[in-house]
């Protein structure tokens, strides 16, 4: 059984603006090891921007990201990946022309050590490595129950399954921190239940720390240990699902009272 540990990811005073538009204003919160941490908020609250700051797609004008005690003024996606942060995307960003198995295999890229020359002649280390990683990928495919579509090009899959492949690719990195950008957006009830189960299993079985953005309050409250609430780029609530649910500011933001 997982036990929530120390702070693994700490965000301090993050402010981000695009031209004159402020996307995030002075946001601070932390994420503890092994927990499921949710970021919620109405449309345009800055949730995706927040996630993009964590894995370095956006560079905030102010503030810093502290990962396991290391301070990052400038994070970039490649460094984030090397530091054990994986992510999924809200608008699917799979490699559409490639099969499910190849998509998930790309997640193993950082773990492959054979050099270009060895790969080119498919020799020794490269071949062994390919097989070892392939075995790992098959485990993930079993875990996500997508054996039947292993060889299908992902562009042909229905949306719900594509979301699952996206999760699989992130899992293939064996990340310590997994960022999920609206993993259940656009899904029906059954698909949402499946996805919730996978997220909880990942957290439980692999001890992966999960940071999750979700629009749907109900789902989030059941899944997460702690919740941050954003509205118009500001933090308006932070705490356990119960605390957040009864926070008057959060209720106001969600019921659409005047600002």
């Amino acid at each position: 059984m997982r036990e929530i540990g120390d702070v693994i990811l700490d965000l301090r005073g993050i402010s981000l603006s695009f031209g004159g538009v402020k996307a995030l204003t002075d946001i601070s919160f932390d994420v503890r090891e092994h927990e499921v941490r949710a970021i919620i908020g109405p449309n345009g609250a800055g949730k995706s921007s927040m996630l993009n700051v964590i894995n370095g797609v956006y560079r905030p004008q102010q503030g810093e990201v502290i990962l396991r005690g290391d301070h990052f003024k400038r994070m970039d996606p490649y460094r984030a990946a090397k530091a054990g942060i994986a992510r999924t995307f809200q608008s699917l960003a799979l490699f559409k022309g490639m099969s499910v198995i190849d998509n998930i295999m790309t997640g193993r890229n950082l773990k492959m050590k054979a050099n270009l020359f060895q790969q080119a002649v498919w020799w020794g280390m490269a071949a062994r490595e390919e097989l070892a990683h392939r075995a790992k990928v098959e485990e993930i495919i079993d875990f996500l129950e997508i054996q039947h579509i292993r060889k299908t090009p992902v562009g042909r899959l229905p949306y719900g399954l594509q979301k699952r492949v996206d999760l699989g690719r992130a899992l293939a990195m064996e990340p310590q921190i997994l960022l999920l950008d609206e993993p259940m957006a656009g899904m029906n009830v059954e698909e949402k239940q499946d996805m919730s189960r996978f997220i909880l299993d990942v957290n439980d079985q692999f001890g992966t720390t999960i940071v999750l953005i979700e629009h749907d309050m109900g789902v989030v409250m059941d899944l997460s240990d702690r919740v941050v609430v954003l509205d118009y780029g500001r933090k308006i609530g932070d705490g356990s699902p119960d605390e957040v649910r009864t926070n008057p500011e959060v209720i106001k933001a969600y019921l659409g009272a005047s600002h």
Partner: protein, 309 residues
Amino acid sequence: MAFFLETLIGGLMAGMLYSLVALGFVLIYKASGVFNFAQGALVLFAALAMARFSEWLPGWTGIDSPILANIGAFVLAGLVMFAVAWIIERLVLRHLVNQEGATLLMVTLGIAYLLEGIGQGFFGNDIYKIDVGMPKEPVMVLENMFEGGILINKEDFIAALIAALLVGALTLFFQKTATGRALRAVADDHQAAQSIGIPLNRIWVIIWLVAGLVALVAGIIWGSKLGVQFSLATVALRALPVVILGGLTSVPGAIVGGLIIGVGEKLSEVYLGPYVGGGIEIWFAYMLALVFLLFRPQGLFGEKIIDRV
């Protein structure tokens, strides 16, 4: 019948050479979504390097075996192409991540002029020859099947064979290796590729290096046929219809497109030429490309263009 076959085979072999140049376009387009106008300049640059190094090497090192000099020149020219790829990534592409396609297109035009200028400044702007010992004399085959047999140009035959091997190797590399997979991933989605830890910078160097090496092989083959001179850069223009026909994103498309155009040119010249006064060979490929642009803009093997409305 024998004459028809002879024309057909001649066309297929010429087509293979077009494919080789077209392949350079396809590789870069696949990996970065950029149509690389500099491909022709790369061919010229590589051929110049090859021609001059094979000429200079005996003087520098005292090697007098032409085979060794050619091998040495090939290695040196390969290294030069690696340097070119590295510099292009470092000075240009790195600063243009996530830019519009049109911007990148213009940049490759700029790179083309630079490469042509620097190449000729550095290696000279005369006509040079590459002699890698390709047999020049034609041979007769199938003499007992047809009267008079079929005349085959040995040089074209070997060139076509080399092209076919190269294409096969590259296809395997793309499909079967981790780096090939990473290349395809980058082509599909830059951002997602970065987020799973694929180093975009290194991938770009690799892809320009591969395009450079393909250009080197194309440059050697075309150069030993036609001589190394500025007009070699325009060989790429002959390959343009090939990529339109085959589809910009498809390696097999580049091959099939090349073969169709090679054969089409030769057959139409021989069989339709007399009726319209000849000269079909020159415009046949462009005409075919135009028809394809009208009715099937993604080409034979390209990914279908779907616009969400």
